[in-house]
């Protein structure tokens, strides 16, 4: 009668259990809600006793979930959330927000996989090789390794030694990483986890400025080389001495975003032209690579191009990077987006809607917006602006399904 396959009691039970845990409810509370004993809830969650329609509706409402979320046909995924929850630092403020963000990352990853299933569009996979053996603990060796890995990765992705305009887009489309932005607590820069069914997933703090998000993304990508199968949450606090893998990820991020050859060339050109290298040049160079002034300074220090301790001096003199950039008329030039999901995810959702594989309500849920905004997104995806013969801007509707290879008879 229905289009979708019915959900197996085991899968249904697993989803109900996950929804209950996500909202912090106990099995006793669920039993109270249903007016039954705890063993009945346990049996439902194990899938040994099928839940009735009335019970499903009551439990979904009690857990703050829609019935559709519980009943939708997609297969249950290998959960990211338990792995990440295990590494949450409970002492850091906002651990409840972090818990919510972990669930949101799980749901976004599942939704992404579901859209790919509906549209028969697998995410391309072009993963780099993992590091062989542990990261060396010696600072010099570790930095040399990070430099080498970043250099090879740039070569593998044909990036040359130019700044990367949108790192997010490169890693999503060229490597096949799922990158999301979410409302993480301010003290958290990002988190990452890899499970085979969902692939490598990264969530960045959407509240952080674009340069910070970009640095975090490069850092999390560094973890993909050195500890791919170990989920992690990156906090901003520097605290005590960082473990080797963290220091590797940091050094890798610096090398990936600011490749040594390119930075040296830029630096040399400035010096040859002006016979100096001033703070204004530093600001311009940081803008060129779309990194913070601090990151640029530390990179120049590490490459031995400026004196070690330059950043410390600037900080002691209360250097204001944002004000300096404003004074130099330097505007942001990167196209790093802070959309909650990748562009490909959005297009898959719009296509699924256009094929009537998902309803408008489902579309709005996939796109995390209200329905009218979802309608606007569809309209914007299916139209592009062009200039007509009279020089006026006009909207041109696009038919994505038209083949450019087959002739029209």
């Amino acid at each position: 009668m229905r289009e979708a396959e019915s959900v197996a009691p085991g899968v249904l039970g697993q989803r109900l259990a996950e929804a209950r845990k996500a909202c912090g409810k106990t099995q006793e509370a669920a039993a109270d809600c249903l007016g039954c004993s705890r063993p009945v809830v346990i049996a439902i969650e194990k899938g040994t006793r099928p839940a009735s329609a009335d019970e499903i509706v009551k439990l979904a409402s009690f857990y703050g979930r829609s019935v559709h979320e519980i009943m939708r046909p997609s297969a249950p995924q290998v959960a990211l959330a338990p792995h990440l929850r295990a590494v949450v630092d409970q002492s850091v403020k906002g651990s409840q927000d972090l818990s919510s963000a972990i669930w949101e990352m799980q749901r976004l990853a599942e939704d992404y996989v579901e859209l790919e299933r509906l549209m028969h569009a697998q995410l391309p996979e072009n993963h780099p090789p993992e590091l062989r053996g542990p990261v060396p603990s010696g600072a010099h060796e570790m930095r040399a390794l990070a430099e080498d890995v970043a250099l090879r990765e740039r070569a593998r992705l044909s990036l040359g030694d130019q700044p990367i305009l949108s790192l997010r887009r490169v890693l999503e489309s060229e490597v096949g990483i799922r990158i999301f932005c979410g409302a993480l607590p301010s003290a958290v820069a990002g988190m990452y986890a890899f499970v085979a069914d969902l692939r490598y997933c990264i969530m960045l703090n959407r509240k952080h400025p674009p340069e910070r998000r970009r640095a975090t993304l490069a850092h999390e990508y560094g973890h993909f080389f050195c500890d791919r199968h170990k989920p992690g949450i990156d906090y901003l606090s520097e605290g005590s001495r960082k473990p080797a893998n963290e220091r590797f990820a940091e050094a890798f991020a610096m090398s990936l975003l600011m490749p040594a050859t390119g930075v040296r060339r830029q630096f040399r050109e400035i010096r040859e032209t002006t016979n100096d290298f001033q703070v204004a040049d530093l600001c311009r160079l940081s803008n060129f690579y779309f990194v913070s002034v601090q990151a640029m300074t530390l990179r120049l220090e590490a490459l031995g191009l400026i004196l070690e301790g330059s950043w410390r001096l600037l900080a002691e003199n209360r250097f204001q990077a944002a004000a300096a950039k404003r004074g130099l008329n330097l505007s942001a030039q990167s196209s790093e987006s802070n959309d909650p999901y990748p562009e490909r995810y959005k297009f898959l959702a719009v296509q699924a809607f256009q094929h009537a594989l998902i309803s408008e309500g489902e579309l709005a849920v996939f796109l995390r917006c209200d329905r009218v905004t979802a309608r606007e997104i569809v309209r914007d995806c299916l139209n592009c602006s062009d200039v007509d013969e009279g020089g006026n801007e006009a909207m041109v509707s696009m038919r994505f399904e038209d083949s450019l290879l087959r002739s029209k008879s």
């Binding site: 509706v57 019935v67 309500g361 009218v372 606007e376």
Partner: protein, 183 residues
């Protein structure tokens, strides 16, 4: 001429469009149409596109109170048993509001007002009558005998505020375009 439908269960996508022309719908209350809105839909927050004083785009919450006060919008719920069972089955394919609208329409034999292609397909598979926003607006326009600029304004409001226009293959697409832009 087709008689005006009395009891219609409305899903969210159609409700937003009606919300964009609430004044016209209230004005048509004497036609005796009753739009039954599933409880889950009526709890959702809906917004319309609008512009602030400087012309910047904003979201304005839909005010459905005039429609409720006029007795045109009537909240409804699935009853335990068959309706709830059907609601849960439809929820495999649709979001809760859409699923509830179809379950109620199927059991109570009410037409379902929706513009959603997936919901329409599922409804028709179940023998549920489907009507769309263009059908409803045309019914009101014919029954209340209004056309020209008034009808054009009504259609333009739906296009702008609800960002809705019937699809290319909708039977009333030409009627809509003609009346929206030549009124």
């Amino acid at each position: 001429m087709e008689r005006v439908l009395r009891d219609i269960v409305v899903d969210a996508c159609c409700l937003i469009n009606l919300g964009a022309i609430a004044d016209t719908v209230v004005w048509s209350s004497r036609l005796g149409m009753k739009f039954h809105v599933p409880r889950i839909v009526s709890r959702e927050s809906f917004f319309l596109r609008a512009a602030d004083a400087d012309g910047n785009p904003i979201r304005r919450p839909i005010n459905l109170k005039p429609l409720t006060d006029a007795g045109i919008l009537v909240p409804c719920d699935v009853s335990p048993g068959a309706e709830t069972g059907l609601f849960v089955e439809f929820a495999r394919d649709l979001d809760d509001g859409e699923a509830m609208a179809l379950a109620i329409g199927r059991i109570r034999n009410w037409p379902v007002a929706t513009d959603d292609r997936k919901a329409s397909r599922l409804a028709r598979n179940e023998g549920i009558r489907v009507i769309t926003t263009p059908d409803l607006v045309k019914q009101i326009a014919v029954a209340r005998a209004f056309d020209g600029p008034r009808l054009a304004k009504c259609l333009q409001k739906i296009e702008y505020h609800a960002c809705f226009r019937p699809s290319d293959n909708h039977p009333l697409r030409k009627w809509w375009t003609r009346n929206a832009h030549t009124g």
